[in-house]
């Protein structure tokens, strides 16, 4: 009776180890971190008004995340991770470009107001 118990416990242990090993043996893991990074990069880009200034690049990043999702479903984790990394840098670039565009607009606006002031001053001075 005792013997059978010990035997089944051993079998369970072996099975368990085998499962763990099998999990490790599959090609990589689900790229959770890469996905989180890509999504947060897209959120940041949206907050930086990339939807207005860089809609094409932002969409590309979004599409890459969607494609990566499908690759994850197909257990192609390596490819998925690479796509997610690309989506991340695409979104970051979209955000950076949007911020530059806004800075450029601000610079132009201030230049315009300087011109106006200067004209007013010139007109006022005899």
């Amino acid at each position: 009776m005792k013997n059978t118990h010990r035997e089944s416990a051993r079998v369970a242990l072996v099975l368990c180890l085998a499962t763990i090993l099998a999990a490790c043996a599959t090609p990589g893991e689900v790229p959770v971190q890469a996905k989180t990074s890509a999504e947060s990069a897209i959120t940041s880009a949206e907050a930086a008004d990339a939807r207005q200034f860089e809609p094409v690049l932002l969409n590309r990043a979004r599409n890459k995340v969607a494609d990566a999702q499908q690759l994850i479903a197909a257990e192609e984790f390596g490819k998925a991770e690479r796509l997610l990394e690309q989506a991340t840098v695409d979104a970051k670039l979209a955000a950076a470009r949007a911020e530059t565009a806004q800075a450029r607009n601000a610079a132009e606006e201030i230049d315009r107001s300087i011109d106006q002031l200067r004209q007013r001053l010139n007109a006022a001075q005899p």
């Binding site: 840098v89 950076a96 300087i114 002031l117 200067r118």
Partner: protein, 283 residues
């Protein structure tokens, strides 16, 4: 002999070929592009200031791409690292652009502040000078009014709803005649001086009589007396366009015609002085 030579020859050629192959580092267009993008901004001070971590990420990805290529890794992995290297270089470049723009904005804001301060002080200066001008103007107008008042007092003019009115009494004319006595002429001289000083002012000379005698005669006499005053003014050099004449006969008495003194008061010439625009209120 020849065979040995051929063998050694081909060995040399093969060796050279192998050496050539081994010497050339593996090439990849994406890596080249990424390296160019990285090198273009590696020494940009604005990128160094605000895109340092992205520049570093670009460099790391570039190194990874190069080593993957050397290790003969899958093309996809090499391209991927090159892609990341290129993107990070682009992000760093954008951050550099933005830093440059922000610096320009800061400078421009200072300039704008200076200009608006200048505009403010100019505005204030103009307001001050306008106030000064208004004050001088007001002072001048007050002085003018004072002077006018004293001149009017000298002329013994009185303020009426029709304006300033100067009355030449009956005693300044010969009885039933339109000739001014010398005292009347002196008054007219003073009026002429006044009109020369205030060229914008005009006068209307109105003749009145008492109710004694026929209306036609009285009307005629009042007109003649008024005209006599106008003639005297013109003799003093006042332009006829500044003088209107009107005879009212026995209309508008100022006193009762029942007494002698009342009738004397009614026999008069009134000189109505216009306002500054030359307007005279008619009866």
């Amino acid at each position: 002999m020849i065979r040995r030579l051929l063998i050694s020859c081909s060995t040399i050629v093969l060796g050279a070929l192998l050496a050539a192959c081994a010497g050339t580092p593996p090439q990849n267009a994406s890596i080249e592009a990424a390296r160019a993008a990285y090198q273009a901004i590696a020494d940009d001070p604005y990128v160094a200031r605000s895109g340092a971590s992205q520049l570093r990420q670009s460099e790391q990805a570039l190194k990874r791409a190069e080593s993957l290529l050397k290790q003969d890794a899958e093309t996809e992995k090499v391209e991927h690292s090159a892609y990341l290297a290129n993107r990070y270089a682009e992000i760093a470049a954008e951050r550099g652009h933005r830093a440059r723009l922000q610096e320009q904005i800061a400078t421009a804001e200072k300039r704008r502040e200076q200009l608006s301060l200048q505009a403010e002080s100019l505005k204030a200066e103009r307001a001050r000078s306008e106030a000064r001008q208004a004050q001088t103007e007001a002072q001048r107008a007050r002085a003018e009014a004072e002077r006018l008042k004293s001149e009017m007092e000298a002329l013994q003019a009185t303020q009426t709803p029709r304006g300033m009115v100067l009355t030449l009494g009956d005693v300044l004319f010969d009885l039933d005649k339109a000739d001014l006595k010398s005292a009347g002429l002196r008054t007219v001289e003073r009026l002429a001086q006044f009109m020369e000083e205030y060229p914008e002012r005009r006068v209307r000379i109105e003749g009145y009589t008492d109710s004694t005698g026929p209306d036609d005669y009285n009307l005629g006499l009042s007109e003649r007396r008024a005209q006599a005053v106008r003639d005297a003014l013109m003799q003093e050099g006042i332009d006829s366009s500044r003088v209107e004449v009107k005879g009212f006969g026995e209309q508008y008495p100022v006193a009762s015609n029942d007494s002698a003194s009342g009738r004397q008061q009614n026999r008069r010439v009134e000189i109505v002085i216009s306002d500054e625009e030359g307007t005279i209120n008619t009866r």
